[in-house]
Amino acid sequence: MTQLGLTDAVRDVIRRDLLVALRRRADALTTVVFFVIVTSLFPLGIGPEPAVLRMIAPGVLWVAALLSCLLSLGRLFTTDYVDGVLEQLVLVPQPLTVLVGAKVAAHWLISGLPIVLLAPVLGLQYGLGGDVLGVLTLSLLLGTPTLSLIGAIGAALTLGVRGSHVLIALLVLPLFIPVLIFGAGAVTSYIAGIGVEANLSLLGACLMLAVVLAPWATAAALRIALE
């Protein structure tokens, strides 16, 4: 029996998770629909004043993205935990940290990327202009992977714990705050004409930090959960 190379293993993990998501389309769609509905609620609640909507758009879209990411985190490890796949992932010779990274990447492709792609459309509903939509999309593109990476830590820590759905929100939301501030801040400062480089650089820095540290912490948390 030949041993699987690391890149092959990563590719297989991503492919498997995407395939599972494709077979259970409703699950993945739920978060996207949730994102759309939440962002549509604000104009209904606040009123259709275009100036107000333009002002709150970055914050609303970012908070909605954050919440829909939170909603999808429960699925990240739970099904694999229940049917024993996770135990196999821990046992294989490839490092768990890298495999966890692959699972997070698949999670982002399923629940993060659709939000990034939908955001410009929803931004239009809030009366944002062309350039601003570009900045919004870019900030989400840089920020949502960080959300998936941080969220994975929370998902792993609360695996199989009672009341995990609420608990994961309490653990993860405080850690999401910097991403929210820099992400929404990039759009707001672009609208104000201050320039976006500082906020986007900080978002990028958060992403780099999360890429290095989060899979490691997630792997440790998974080992603890599976003991």
Binding site: I153, L157, T158, V161, R162, G163, S164, L167, L170, L171, L173, P174, L175, I177, P178, I181, L209, L213, A217, A220, A221, I224, A225, E227
Partner: protein, 253 residues
């Protein structure tokens, strides 16, 4: 027996730690009372009135030490958590568990006194500036550590999971500390630093430092007392209660 002869690893067993914590608690409690009394006396009666803020600035003697302790205790908690994960030592986890509520209390105290101070000086109870927000996040992190622990029934898993979360949250501490330098905020910059001359009267500085020491001693006393409760609680469950019970009866603590 000289100091160097003490076998510190003796105290890595809860049974040895329990009487030690009991012996130390009254000393640190007494130190805390004396230092906090002296700090409040100097701060409230001897320190001069601020020419800009009047007497309302005096809340600084609680606010700044509480904020320092909130950050310091988080780092100490994370340190014990890391030692626990690294050495698989149960007392380290117990220390981390004992520190969390005190840390959360100081964080809440810093937020509360800050908002009471903000009203007369800034004209508002709360602003969403970087330092206030990051201190609020610290409070949530303390709550998260405690809630994660109570949600998991298996003690071993609860220990290790909350330790991992405490270590993840440590990223926030430097953000709080440097927030007034990194962002242009309403919260003033540090009045005290190790390198530059302090920007406040010597008497005020003295009061603040004595109060900080007092809070520090208070934290040690309360944490050690809580550590005893944690040991009792856990050891009773794991049916070695007899070993822990004895020092209480004999030592007469």
């Amino acid at each position: 027996m000289s100091v160097t002869d003490i076998n510190w690893f003796k105290y890595s067993s809860p049974q040895a730690l329990y009487p030690l914590a009991g012996k130390l608690t009254p000393w640190f409690s007494a130190l805390a009372v004396i230092l906090m009394g002296a700090g409040l006396y100097i701060g409230l009666l001897l320190a001069p009135t601020d020419f800009q803020q009047g007497d309302s600035y005096r809340i600084i003697f609680v606010h700044v030490p509480a904020a320092w302790m909130s950050m310091f205790l988080y780092v100490v908690m994370a340190l014990w958590a890391a030692i626990g994960l690294g050495l698989k030592a149960r007392p380290s986890y117990m220390m981390a568990q004992a520190i969390a509520p005190t840390g959360a209390m100081f964080t809440f105290l810093a937020l509360l006194t800050g908002s009471l101070w903000g009203k007369p000086t800034w004209g508002t109870w709360w602003v969403w500036d970087a330092r206030l927000t990051s201190e609020l996040i610290l409070f949530f992190l303390y709550l998260g550590v405690m809630l994660l622990r109570t949600s998991i029934d298996d003690a071993r898993r609860a220990d290790r999971a909350s330790a991992v979360f405490a270590l993840v949250g440590v990223v926030n501490v430097p953000i709080i500390y440097f927030s007034v330098q990194w962002w242009n905020t309403l919260h003033q910059g540090a009045s005290v630093s190790a390198t530059a001359a302090p920007k406040m009267a010597a008497m005020m500085l003295l009061a603040m430092l004595i109060m900080s020491l007092g809070f520090w001693m208070y934290s040690i006393a309360v944490i050690l007392a809580r550590l005893r409760c944690v040991i009792r609680e856990r050891e009773e469950r794991s049916s070695v209660a007899g070993q822990v019970e004895r020092p209480v009866a004999v030592g007469g603590v």
